[in-house]
Structures are given as C-alpha cells and as structure tokens.
C-alpha cells in the first residue's frame, strides 16, 4: 500500500520536462458575446508573450484568466487589449468577469499552455489505481472495502 501511495505521489509531482519551443509573440483576438468566447479553446506554448484583444459584440464582458491574475474588460463594440507572458504550463480556464446575464457564471473558455501534463498524470494514476485495487484484494482477500 505504501508503495502505491509513494508511486502515486511520484506520478503527481515528478517534474516532467515540457517540450521546449521558442517563445513567440502572439496576438489573439477573442470575441465575447452572451454567453461565449470565440474562440473558446486556445493553444499556445510556454513562454509565449500573448496579447489578448477582447472584443465585445453585445453587452459589457470581462476576461479573467485562472492562475494568471490577468483581467480585461470590454465595453460593447469596443476592444480591450492586454499582454501577459505564459509562464505557467497547463490548462487554465478563462471566465467572464462582468455579470452579463443568467448564464454569466458559466461563460468559460480554455487556454492550454504547452502540454497538459495533469491529464497524462491522471491517466497514469488511473492505471495505478486499477493495479492497486487488484493487488490490495489479492493480498488480503475480503478484508474491507
């Protein structure tokens, strides 16, 4: 059991190298309307300097990026611009930060920086979990759930 816990911690936290790409400057134009961002899914590389151009096509919308404390607010028909450097790898959601109607709390998009290691860690952990379940029952049959 201890072995499995150790292994799962390893899978969880072992530092894995991100494939290195030469950082680029990117300009991303995001259209916000009730209640979606277009594009809703964005893929960039770690280290990229990203300039976001937020355009609102109807009411006031915001853009707030998880994990980066990066926020923009765009008035209707206007463009708001801001720049950040993608220092952290992983998948981050961005959300509308201005109450814009009923579905506002669920107005969400997704920014993927590099490879989503957490997903792969999760898959490895899943296989480990199954193995642990099999072994735990073989060693101590009918012990407890």
């Amino acid at each position: 059991m201890l072995l499995f816990i150790g292994m799962s911690l390893l899978i969880f936290f072992a530092p894995l190298p991100q494939p290195v790409q030469i950082p680029k400057d990117r300009l991303i134009r995001i259209e916000a309307s009730s209640f979606q961002f277009i594009p809703g899914e964005i893929q960039i590389n770690p280290g990229d300097r990203v300039t976001v151009e937020l355009v609102s096509t109807d009411v006031v919308h915001g853009f707030s990026l998880d994990g980066y404390s990066f926020e923009l607010k765009a008035d209707p028909g206007q463009t708001a611009t801001g720049t950040f450097t993608a220092g952290k790898a992983g998948v981050f959601r961005f959300r509308c930060s201005v109450a814009c109607g009923n579905l506002h709390p669920f107005m969400i998009g997704k920014l993927q920086v590099g490879v989503n290691l957490l997903l792969f860690r999760g898959i490895a952990l899943g296989l480990l979990a199954i193995a642990a379940a099999l072994v735990s029952l073989r060693k101590a049959p009918r012990r407890r759930m």
Partner: protein
C-alpha cells in the same frame, strides 16, 4: 465487520431519541426553504446575486455531496423540510409518532410505480432543464414550491412518505450513494425482534421499512422514528466502513442500475455544459424549446439511455460470460450495478469541487444581501469576485476521480469470482473516469 454503535453513548442516544433536536433542525431547514422560495420569487433576477440560486445550487447542493452523503449517508433526509407538512398532517401533530389520528387517505402506492425509476426520470428532467433552473431564481423557486406541494398532496392520498420513496430525485441520488456512506441503522439483536409481534418500528417508520429486514441503507431515511418507539432499545445507529452495503452478498435491483447510469450520465453532461468551453452547448441547454435545445436533449438522452447503458450492458454481459456460473442478464445487470455507486459518488464529488470551489465566493455576499435589493446585513455585499480554479482544486479533482476508480475496481473484483470476470467492469469504470478526467481537467 467493525461497527461503532452510537446509541451506546447515553448522550448520543438521548439526542437521537428526543424529538426536539431533530425538530429544531427541521424547523430551521423549513424556514430556510420557505425563505428561499420567497427570495426566488421576489428577489433580484440576477442569479448570482439571488439567495435562492446561491443557496440551493451552491451552498446546499455542494454540502449535500461533500458532507451529508459521504459522511452521513442519507442524513439529509432526516432533516429535509420537503415532506414535513404532509407528514405532520398524516401524523396529526408535529412531535407525534406515526399511527395516530391524522389526515389523509393512506392508500397504498401502486405496485407498478414502485422502485426508483421515476426518481431517475426526475433527475433526468432536472438535467434537461438544468441550465434554466440553475440560473433563474424564479424558476428555482417555482420548482421548489411545486415539489413542496406535490409532496404534500401525495402524502394526503398515499400512506407514509410516498414522495420520498418513489419520486424525489434527490432521494434517488442520496439513497443510491448512501450505500457507500458510513452510517447505518440496524437492529441490535435479531432474536428480540423475532419475539416482538407488534412490530412497532414498522408501524412507526415513515419510509415503510422494517428495520429487522434492512440490508442496505438506500431506503432508510435515518429519521430515528423506529429507535424512538422500540420498547426494547434494540435499534442501533452504527458508524461503519465506507461502502459496507456493496459486496458479493447484498441484493440489488435493476432500477438501481438504471439510477446509477442516469447519475453517471448527468455528471458527464453537467460537466460538459457548465464547466466546458463550448458556448453553443450552453446556449442550446438554456434555450428550452428551441431546435438547438432539442438537439441537446436528444444527445443527453442518448448518453443517459443509450450509450452508457449500452456500454454497461456489454460489460455486464461479458462479465457474466466470463464467470463459471451464469445467471440471467437481468440479474447480472442488477448485481454489477454496485460498481456504479462509488464511481458515480466520486465523480459527483470531483464535479462539485470543480464547480463550487470557484463559486463559493458568492455565498457570503448572498447572505449579506439575500434578495439583491442592496441590503448589507453582514457587511459583505458586493464582495463576490470572479473566482478561479486553483491548481490545488485541479489536483484534488484528479485525486478524487482516482479514488473513485480504485474503489469501483475493488468492488468489481469483490463481487466477481475472478479478476478476469471483473475486467469488463473495470474497463467500463476506467472509460468513464477518463471521460470525467478530460472534462474536468483536460
């Protein structure tokens, strides 16, 4: 198996036996329920500022899944306000046991409507109209009011808690997962019950259970009525290891498999709609009655009634074939439904963490200004931020999903003869976990 009987502590026994502590909690939840309906009807139309939305869908729904069920099984039903007005009328009093002179026709629930089929159906309906109910305070209030009136009406026509037993979608949810919970009510000494011919506990049970026959906690509402009327103090309230109702010997019915599958499908669809980056999906789920909504409903129903049951059917069929003794398909579908319990419970917990950790910042401001009329009761109005998913919350979701996979694989092995036989069910669990993983952290 190890059990810790709470009634052995005189103080705990006194608390459980007296009707007052429970009544006080029930009074609070009932008042809260009525207040929620009123604030939903009269308060702000901005959902994220309305007490009804925040309290029902963030505070209560989260607490139910993160606290009540994993630590108390069906404990919510013990203080749930919904059936109370009807039950009080049935009993002819608030602190009365069942069986006195009350109101109501006391008819039996029709046989063909028994089981948890309709609870599962109710849960599907919540899912189909979820985007609207979850975001509109008025509709939340109307749904709650409707449930309250329906429960009252049914208790005047039928005996006991018919609404709870056969209709309440929340009851279906909690009952299913209560089997994995660490609390159970059982009799202490079987012989004492056998010698007691009046069966006062059965007469008193609002849920129509006979404690001696309880093998699973799914249908016991932990209301403690049997404990109060037992003349021999023969009722125990046990703390037990998680998942005690799941095992090779326990009995399970086909409707549990259906309920379990509906819950899995709902967890998937809710994750996609509310947490995913697909704006059109959200709009489709919201625009009830539009062609897009019909498309959404169609795919939801296809997942809940077609794809998942199909995969499960295949897994159960294969498992049955791989065993040495073959039972009929219906029996194996029911038997293997136990695998769906830890799988679904953990998936819902992971979903809840993903959802609620971000939105919890709304709770205190909603207490401060419950109707969205600009009050400031505790000085915290207008402090709600956007909220964000931290990497801690993401890691926690992964960990919880893995516990679910580990747990359901264990159950699959324990209820199969060989690991080979369990393999199709483990594969099913793995596939489902992968889908949840991708939706939550992908």
């Amino acid at each position: 198996m190890t059990r810790l009987d709470l009634t052995r502590s005189p103080r705990a026994l006194a608390l459980l036996r007296s009707r007052w502590p429970q009544f006080l909690l029930r009074a609070i939840t009932l008042a809260g329920f009525v207040f929620t309906i009123l604030s939903g009807l009269m308060g702000s139309v901005v959902g994220s500022h309305n007490f009804a939305i925040i309290f029902v869908w963030i505070a209560w729904w989260t607490t139910l899944k993160l606290v009540f069920i994993p630590f108390g099984g069906r404990s919510w039903c013990s203080i749930c306000p919904i059936p109370l007005p009807g039950e009080w009328l049935q009993n002819g009093g608030i602190l009365q046991p069942r069986g006195g002179t009350g109101f109501g026709l006391g008819k039996r629930w029709p046989r063909f409507l028994k089981g948890s089929w309709m609870q599962a159906g109710g849960f599907l309906l919540i899912g189909l109209f979820g985007a609207m109910t979850l975001t509109s305070a008025k509709i939340t209030a109307i749904v709650l009011l409707f449930i309250l009136i329906l429960a009252l009406a049914l208790s005047l026509v039928f005996e006991r808690r018919s609404f709870c037993n056969y209709l309440c979608p929340i009851g279906g949810f909690t009952g299913l997962y209560a089997q994995a919970g660490p609390v159970e009510l059982r009799v202490k000494d079987v012989d004492i019950c056998a010698a007691h011919s009046e069966k006062t506990c059965y007469t008193a049970c609002p849920w129509g259970q006979y404690p001696l026959a309880l093998k699973s906690s799914a249908n016991c509402g932990l209301c403690m009525e049997c404990l109060r009327v037992c003349p021999s103090d023969n009722i125990a309230v046990n703390l037990r290891p998680w998942g005690s109702d799941l095992g090779p010997k326990t009995k399970h019915r086909l409707d549990e498999a259906f309920l379990g599958l509906v819950m899995l499908a709902s967890a998937l669809v809710d994750s996609a709609v509310f947490l995913g980056p697909w704006g059109q999906l959200k709009s489709a789920a919201y625009a009830i009655g539009s062609p897009a909504w019909f498309l959404f409903s169609g795919s939801f129903l296809l997942t809940a009634l077609g794809i998942l049951p199909g995969l499960y059917l295949g897994a159960a069929w294969a498992a049955n074939r791989l065993g040495t003794t073959h039972v009929n398909l219906r029996q194996s579908l029911a038997h293997y439904s136990q695998v769906l319990v830890p799988l679904g419970l953990m998936a819902w917990i992971a979903f809840t963490i993903s959802f609620a950790f971000v939105k919890f910042g709304y709770v205190l401001p909603a207490v401060s200004d419950p109707l969205g009329w600009g009050w400031n009761l505790i000085g915290l109005s207008k402090t709600a931020g956007v909220g964000e998913a931290t990497s801690f919350s993401l890691n926690l979701q992964v960990a919880i999903l893995m516990v679910g996979l580990y747990w359901s694989s264990r159950v699959a092995c324990r209820i199969s003869e060989t690991i080979r036989q369990a393999a199709p069910l483990i594969a099913f669990s793995g596939l489902f976990t992968l889908a949840m993983l991708w939706l939550l952290v992908g």
